[in-house]
Amino acid sequence: MDILNLLSGSLQQALGPTAVVYALAAIGLNVQFGYTGLLNFGQAGFMAIGGYFMAASVATWGLSFWVGIALGLGLSVVLALLLGIPTLRLRADYLAIVTIAAAEIIRQTLGSVTLLKWFGGQDGLINFQRTFVEMNPFSSRVDLGIVAWRPFDFWLLFSGWILVAIGVVVVWLLMRSPWGRVLKGIREDEDAVRSLGKNVYSYKMQSLIIGGLFGAVAGFYVALQHTNMNPTWVATDTTFFAYTVLLLGGAARVLGPVVGSIVFWFLITFLDLFFGILTRGADPFMPEWIMTNQQASLMRLIIMGLALMLLMIFRPQGIFGDRRELAIDAR
């Protein structure tokens, strides 16, 4: 039954490891962009640092998995400091330029031939997930009726959603506190907050670091999900998918990134499968003069792009956003 396959396939993706990765990345962006107003266009760079150093610690340097995790987190803090120190005193757009460039520099450097013996060049790294696999409590296929996962995938998404839940709770706790209020104040008008005696620079830096840490965790999951870490997983479009996820769910909403990620991956898989079915086989439903099978595989991106535009026009606050807040911007 095609319709059922369509739905179960989409649901599988919507709850699967990929959705976890983007939920984590978007939670980080939510802290930075949604609450503080920092335009970090280099979330993929933080993911690269996390994923690569976790993988290289085990695969290249023979260290423990946990040392790799600590190294990934530690270096993402260093990256946040490096990016933040020169740019956070300047206007918001400088951070955007610097981060997007830095993410690409990191990706190109880690994938370069010069560092081949450490990071494996364009092929990337493998054989680093053993500790994670050993921790897997699930030994058989997990079947929930409409969706089913291999034990490893289920362990990925199970542990991943737990981390997402922890992340959501942390963000919720932070954003209801006076600390979160200062961040929101900075988003609205940083000079006003400065005039009230708050060290705006320090708060922006804290926000950048926290968002970057979520990026690094997303990077760990990208690597584990593919059991391979290579430059393709952290290309620039990764950041923009994460932004789409955030805007879809609603920026500055605690659950925005999570719902956004689930909806995004449901829709994109649904569209992919749908057009796949339409154009499949020797005698497809959709005549070839309209669309070939190859062209159909691009339709999902075209329609997602269109959907994002419509979303920005008719519901710019995202799924969870508050209409009242938007009315204010019109003034």
Partner: protein, 319 residues
Amino acid sequence: MPADTTAPASGSEYVDRGRAAEARKALASVEHEPGAPKPDPIVVADEVTRQFGGLKAVDVAHVEIQRGAITALIGPNGAGKTTFFNLLTGFDRPNTGRWTFNGKSLAGMSAYKVARLGMVRTFQLTKVLAKLTVIENMRIGATGQSGESLARAMFPFFWRAQEKANTERAGAILQRFKLDAKRDDFAGSLSGGQRKLLEMARALMVEPELIMLDEPMAGVNPALKQSLLGHVKSLREDGMTVFFVEHDMDMVRDISDWVIVMAQGQVIAEGPPDSVMADQRVIDAYLGSHHDQVLDFEEEEKILQEAQEEHVKNEEEAQ
């Protein structure tokens, strides 16, 4: 002395505690000259200059601001008043200069540290935090909040009591400024005048000793103007020093104890409102120095000839 910012018992805005008379008495013996020394200055600035390219926007040799008084800073457009404000509060860096607040040097200090010391400013273009509610705008103003440190933010028992106290204080100030009905509305939904009130109220949350208002009357309707005037006067009654930039001469005349006049970056006159407004230097600065001379034909010829001679001279020099 930290200001008493709780609402007056009577509910009226202005309780006369005789501070106006006190301030004027203290200033009575001060000479009406630019840079005149004051008996009890809260701010003393020396040689403060700020250059934008070839333009010296601020060039203040010496100025003192009397504690407990309302001091107005006036001057024609482009006189450097707002720039001077920005320099004093750390929002801009001067090319040269030193200034003190309560005897403590502020030169090179960041804006947020200046505010924490008790020198708090508002802005010409009101800066309310639009997507925060009015009460959240107020709460953010309180200083020394333990919940503002990342380590403690996640655990409400560290900051709940303080938050409650701040909220009560904020509520009392909002009531005084008649904004309590708007408490849970987004600040972005307030009118222009209400935003001015909220900004002033929020500045009080910092418990300033010196409050610096940059054009508090700009864009405020006449009805609200009266109530704003009352609020500013009541700040002095509560023991605060007020220093404000304003173009509205009625307001300056009505509430200020002392007026400092700036033109082309320099302090050109000082004194009580009436004496300053009659000062020839001030009139010249606002209206131009030849405004009262009638140019007759001969005079005009003379000026023209001088200009031509100078032009010829310059040409010759150039060759």
